[in-house]
Assembly symmetry: C3
């Protein structure tokens, strides 16, 4: 009897430990796998978001004139580098470090022992991925927001302005808004719904762009003697649309990746994202056809972008049909805004204010309208689902607060720069193009210069004397 | 004694429930992880397939003349948007909804409760990923097939034709073929082997292209007064090859992703895919060198594409050595077909009939020849493995049935359009280029127009008067 | 009593088998999931590395003149095809097959039964992914190394040289170095730290490039009558930077993927990779500004590349701050090397010797300096962490041995080719451009030729008579 009891107990103990042993021998546990899978997904998504830099580069190149394209791509590289380093050093801590309602106050240089990650970075304690993965995903977002700033300021901005503003924006302005809405700040507390950053990323970039453009003024020749806008088309529609398509797939990392976990819901988010983009193309192209009887390539591209910006806030909260409505309206509103901006003498070569600014506003509002009860993981259901006006009010508050802050902070920085080093190149430099003056080489040397050996070009005389030791 | 029995029972019950409790505490279960991982893989693969739109855009831009490139990229955007929405609304239900041997009859707008997904979409009940993931992967395929249609019809088609045919193709024609072969239709029942769509996706696109081209006629200047073909080279080989390379990596989503599950076999499928592409480059380049003593860039690219098309049907069923044979023959056959098509006065600027049409036919046949017994998850082993002629017969039947259906249905649509709104632009528009007429702006304004302020261009006089409020 | 014992035993047996049954019913086990997840990650990473071919294509196109761009992209396609096939047939076996200290001696054509994979390919037995995944990741690396070879030899090399050298390099030279350092060879045994291939991939490519360039000589017009270097700028900075950005994200597969397993550490590796690249941009751009007062676009791009090359060896072994130091120094050293190489009359249009050669050397050394004790999975901690000079000595030995071997072997091949078929095109072909002579078509026909029907081009007279049956 005792022997049986002992035997039974022994077998039971063995049974209790067997699964653990088996797992230990097999290698990873379920928890290990879960962590690894989340990491893989977040890294792949971050990589897609990083790829958006190539999208912005091609978009801006396409909408610039040939004489300024070298400047565009140099700016992309330098801005990406600055964002990568500044957000690592201070920005990430300000945005996601544990702190107060306004700002994070710890976690500089990612220097923290593994056991304390969730304490130090309270703003991202909800995801289990390693600290480096949290950072990489977020720094890619910061770089996107910074890239948006310059869409309005192309073809006339001093290169030094790109460098200095990038430091302030990636190191301070963007992180503050990030903390308010995502990092545990006061808008987080109010339950603002901005899943992947219609406001945090896109509206922020657009408001900084607006501030800069107001101080910069339009390009030479953009308005005729009667003050009417003159079209200055970009030089390369294929590259512009390549940029749009790269941004489109980049958004498959941007929105679904904002789960920061490998969960089946990423597919639902990719679906709303994709439907919205499609509807945005048709909305903007349709406006172009109705008002001008043409199928404007740039409008189609900007329609897609405006819709993608708009669906960014509500992508995880709304039904597929709603995403189509949101995207279509975004395309239409973008078209109207573009015309309006042009008329009030704000020269925005890329349409960033229309696509990222109005798209961001509309998208943030739309979360307060269309969020369904079953998907409202944050905040409350939208107005159309009986959630009342509370959520919509929070969304409006967030838009106004974040938008105003970024606008005013950026205005202060750009005004300081204007009063000191200046923010605009000289008129002759603008006419010659930025490439030859600031970068020492044309973007397309064969097509514009005569003095390169064996060049096929030889059309436009080189405006500057070039030395033999120029560039390589 | 009773106490012991009770105790034993209690412990046993505890043991039985412990694993479940342990898992519940750890978070995800093995089943959760499996679902999440499959979803991640399918979404990543769908993203790669979506990226192929950029590949087609660059390929078509590269093979077009400068005056038509804006039209190409506008068409890509609009077609992608239409496919994304139409396939969501009706196409997916027709293709994969449970129905009869000819067509799916349920599942419109993806509107179905989660518990009924497998009942409603019987054609995809074999994969566990969420409905939205199933849809996204398949809609990306539909968009690829639609993109293929236009390769033959570049540089002379009215934009309205792109729009209207896209609706019919994505909403009806493509889904029907998809249902026959993949969705539980009559060719599914016969065991046709078309793993990732040599017939469903590529032959379908090419047959629609052929139908359209026959009604459209060749470009002006394509045939001289004696009826001999004149070369009209594309304008940008670097972008064409960029397109090929994007398609190449897109195929790493296209073929391995068609498992619609994260399984180790995706590596085997990527291997056959990659070997075939490599062999296709050499097959076509070799033909070019043997017959013309040059290394034709476009041929190399089309050789890769033809081989990738060919390996698409058998990629999961054949050995690596067979994939090399299949790819090499695809490159050679593509070359010969291209010359033949040119000679019979079918003007195919992109080589889509040769690459996607003949590539699709050869690939579908090759499954009936090279499928090995151990990999024949569908149908029977190929002829060379003692499987007899049954499988090859099924493959031939599938090619003939699907090809004929798409050709005739497309012919009917294009003929109707030709008889009503017309399908071809006017000769002067074709000579001036589509961009300036249909889109109101050149693809490369700086290089062709004189009247933009500060443009570097100024070579070719602008054929049309432009107004100040043109485009932005 | 007996009944109870029997009953207890029966239940115990049931309990023992239940988990297995449960798993069988659920589908995959934890081990299955682990294998599948590793496979997904390695395939995605391999796909990113394969995408680097598009990066090299755009980079080389951008740094070439218009008349040679078709040659560039044709070379990319053919080289990729040759690498894919040769490395499959013999290269992979030589590199990773079990063998001796110098070379692998088994595993040709990947022909091995599943149970013997780890015995036959001892060099990669540490990763559990399927053989096809092991191969695909490694073949993508081989293709990168081969692509690097040609950066110095652009715009004057006979196409046949690309073909023949590719066979020898992918089939023999690269695999030998791979075996020494990664495949279980003598440098593996010494504990050389080259995590993702600063030496194996990048220095190898650069040393072959140096050998070829010394025999080839500079481009016509590169040095003036006094022997001073003349700048021959590339023709397209936007595409060059697109190439850089594609390479940048490709490196997110290159370095983190070299774990060949889905582990959380991939995020740490992506972090060091990204920080280094950012610092490299600033290092090289800073040098450009300090020495020439301009913001050189090409320098920024090459700074990123040099830094990415440098962090490739130590990416898994060093702290984030060290990666910034490594990347910054790589950018600075690249700049200085570029100027030096130019002065000693080695004409390197792409800067490959500076970026991949010096970057590779510095990166390999830096592992011996900065490797931290806790990350030193291979070899010993670096000099700065008290590891002494042993590890640094091994790194130097590896650099010298691998560099010398590749240089001498490549020199022998190129010298043989020079003595037989010749390695350089004729001067008139070089002046006209390679495209029209070797490929029968211009890279940008509309911009350079007059005799295409309806072309928008018509600026530069066509240097060659073209026949109607030219190319398609």
């Amino acid at each position: 009897m005792r022997r049986l009891a002992l035997l039974t107990t022994a077998v039971l103990v063995l049974l209790l430990t067997l699964p653990a042993l088996a797992f230990a021998q097999d290698g990873p546990t379920v928890a290990d796998l879960s962590l690894a899978m989340d990491t893989v997904w977040v890294i792949v998504a971050a990589c897609l978001v990083l790829f958006m830099q190539a999208g912005f580069a091609m978009l801006e190149v396409g909408f610039s004139r040939m004489k300024n394209v070298g400047s565009v791509v140099a700016k992309i590289l330098v801005n990406l580098a600055i964002a990568a380093l500044l957000f690592w050093a201070v920005g990430f801590a300000l945005a996601f470090g544990t702190g107060n309602a306004l700002i994070g106050t710890q976690g500089w240089f990612l220097a923290v022992s593994p056991g304390q990650v969730n304490d130090v970075y309270g703003g991202l304690s909800w995801t289990q991925v390693p600290l480096s993965a949290k950072f990489l995903f977020q720094v890619a977002f910061c770089a996107v927001s910074l890239a948006i700033v310059w869409g309005t300021m192309l073809e006339r901005t001093k290169f030094a302005v790109y460098v200095i503003f990038a430091v302030v924006f990636a190191g301070l302005i963007y992180p503050i808004v990030g903390h308010w809405i995502w990092g545990g700040g006061w808008l987080t507390e109010l339950g603002m719904q901005d899943f992947a950053g219609s406001t945090v990323v896109h509206l922020s970039g657009a408001m900084a762009a607006l501030a800069g453009t107001l101080l910069l003024g339009p390009r030479l020749g953009k308005y005729d003697d009667d003050g009417r806008p003159v079209t200055i088309p970009g030089h390369n529609m294929p590259l512009a649309v390549l940029g749009v398509l790269i941004l489109w797939i980049g958004w498959w990392g941007f929105n679904p990746g904002s789960t920061m976990a490998a969960v089946p819901e990423i597919a639902d988010i990719a679906l709303t994202t994709n439907l919205a983009a499609a509807a945005g193309v048709l909305g903007a192209m349709g406006m172009s056809y109705v008002y001008r009887r043409n199928i404007d390539v740039g409008m189609g591209g900007n329609g897609a972008i405006a819709a993608l910006v708009a669906i960014t806030a509500p992508c995880a909260f709304v039904a597929p049909w709603a995403s189509i409505v949101i995207g279509f309206i975004a395309g239409v509103v973008m078209y109207a805004t573009l015309a309006f901006v042009d008329r009030i003498r704000v020269d925005d070569p890329l349409g960033a204010i229309a696509a990222h600014g109005m798209g961001g506003v509309w998208g943030t509002l739309s979360a307060g309208l269309f969020t369904t009860p079953e998907l409202a993981a944050i905040g409350r259901p939208g107005l159309f689902y009986g959630g009342g006006f509370y959520q919509l009010g929070v969304q409006v508050l967030g838009i106004v607060a974040a938008g105003s802050f970024v606008f005013l902070a950026s205005l202060a920085v750009f005004a300081t720069l204007k009063a000191t080093i200046g923010i605009r190149v000289k008129p002759d430099q603008e006419l010659d193009g930025l490439d030859i003056h600031e970068h020492g080489v044309y973007g397309y040397p064969d097509l514009v210069a005569t003095d390169y050996p064996n060049g096929n070009g030889a059309k436009i005389p080189d405006p500057l004397e070039r030395t033999a030791e120029g560039t390589t």
